[in-house]
């Protein structure tokens, strides 16, 4: 009976593996790979999503996948060198949120990038709205992993941390060790003691920041970017009023790139027969 059960379990495992493999065998065009990925996010359909193919033929057979923060010229060249033709980027390819290209019809930078994509038959898909809807948000999870801060969460969120008491200065030094490339923009008293930190990836807008900063359970926000006349000035005034609040802007790329690094790992969990690589785009700027 036990043996029969074991055989049955083995059969079921093999059958299940077979089904997964079967799915993967079908997953060969860019369109079908993308469909599989979206399904795996378990998100409801996102209306008017930016997660569409930005360039290339959806029916292109996928030889290899690159995940990245921005599909920069350098990332595209690295993808080609690695024989990957599906680039999954978190952010736009053509310098505006909706990748509107009408304004670039005579622009040499756009035209050369587009030509490179076409000549190398690349497909670029944006993975933004859906990756943020994975439970937990895979961009936030990637950051918590990168910082080794999952131990500071209460298990219900991967963005909110309660850590052993430290100062804003010490927290900044800790972050700098992980992200040494360029300067952060910081507002707050360096000597402020803190335990309660929240991570706000990318550019969710200042209203989102304001709500976080109003929360008694938040002392420090670690953010991506925001217009400087918005959250920056709010926190400057809050600090001037003697409030125990601070914000550290890591920069947009730095705040979300760990999420796209984790994305490659997540994809490997269900796409078994296509090579998958994370390629770092890195911050666009240096600071001086």
């Amino acid at each position: 009976m036990k043996k029969t059960t074991s055989v049955l379990i083995c059969f079921l495992i093999l059958a299940f593996t077979g089904i997964i493999s079967g799915q993967n065998t079908k997953v060969n065009t860019a369109a079908s790979v993308i469909e599989t990925i979206i399904k795996q996010t378990k998100s409801e359909p996102v209306p008017n999503t930016v997660d569409v193919i930005k360039a290339g033929d959806p029916l292109t057979p996928v030889k290899g996948i690159v995940t990245t923060m921005f599909a920069t010229m350098d990332v595209l060249k690295k993808a080609v060198a690695m024989n990957c033709n599906l680039i999954i980027a978190h952010e736009p390819v053509f310098y505006n949120h909706r990748d509107e290209i009408q304004q670039f019809q005579n622009d040499p930078v756009y035209l050369e990038k587009k030509r490179y994509i076409d000549e190398h038959k690349l497909v670029i898909w944006r993975f933004h709205d859906y990756i943020h809807r994975i439970q937990p948000d895979a961009i936030d999870y990637g950051m918590a992993l990168k910082l080794d801060w999952l131990k500071y969460t209460d298990g219900t969120s991967v963005e909110r941390f309660v850590m052993p008491e430290t100062t804003l200065k010490e927290l900044t030094i800790t972050l700098k060790k992980v992200f040494p490339v360029n300067a952060f923009n910081i507002i707050g008293d360096p000597e402020m003691k803190l335990t309660k930190v929240v991570f706000s990836a990318g550019a969710p807008g200042s209203i989102y920041h304001f709500r976080l900063l109003e929360d008694d359970n938040v002392e420090v926000v670690i953010a991506g970017e925001v217009p400087q006349w918005e959250t920056y000035e709010y926190v400057r005034d809050a600090v001037s009023q003697g409030r125990k609040k601070a914000i550290i802007f890591l920069g947009h790329v730095t705040s979300e790139e760990p999420g796209m690094e984790y994305c490659a790992q997540w994809l490997k969990g269900f796409i078994k027969d296509i090579p998958i690589h994370f390629v770092e785009s890195g911050p666009s700027y240096r600071t001086y």
Copy 2:
């Protein structure tokens, strides 16, 4: 005849001075001071302008004027200490472009700032759309003065400079000497040789930057700020394509504060009977 002419000229000068003084004598409420200033810009009326009184009673008699980049809590306190009650700020008071306050009705930072303004009977007026419409744009003129770069203009513009050949690295060092407080964000080859520089104050949007960067007469843009997924990535790709282009983001405050310093000087040219001071708000953040 000559004597008669001289007397006539003297009379006209005195009469003219009298008219100006007469105007200034009337210029005693915030509303009338603002009206005088707008008239002096010689701009056509700006539809839907943000240049309105953001807080305070328009009929408040003006004791003294402060010009500043941002009416921060600290700037307000300095104004009060200097016995000034009209604050002329280039940017919003309440953390969003149109100073919409609906979202802050329960926000402690907003409520405390508003209370301070009310208790000290301050009037805050935004001087943005109209100061940019002065010919030449007084914000740009203030920057050219601050950098001592008027000598590099062709006389038709105060934003476009042709300077003795230098490198991006040397240009950055020059700028850092003038603005030492916090880091700039820079994209471009440090060794790139250049002579053609354009200044783009504040946050005019990436489309404006793209048009500048497409121009053969522009090698380097000195900018305020922009979303990092826009101009930043465009210039990164342009550089990667081998183009002789670069951009230096000074930060929003740094890019426009010299203009508000110049504004005080400009106001003193026609407002003679009210004390006028420039108060530096300085950058909101430090960099690390």
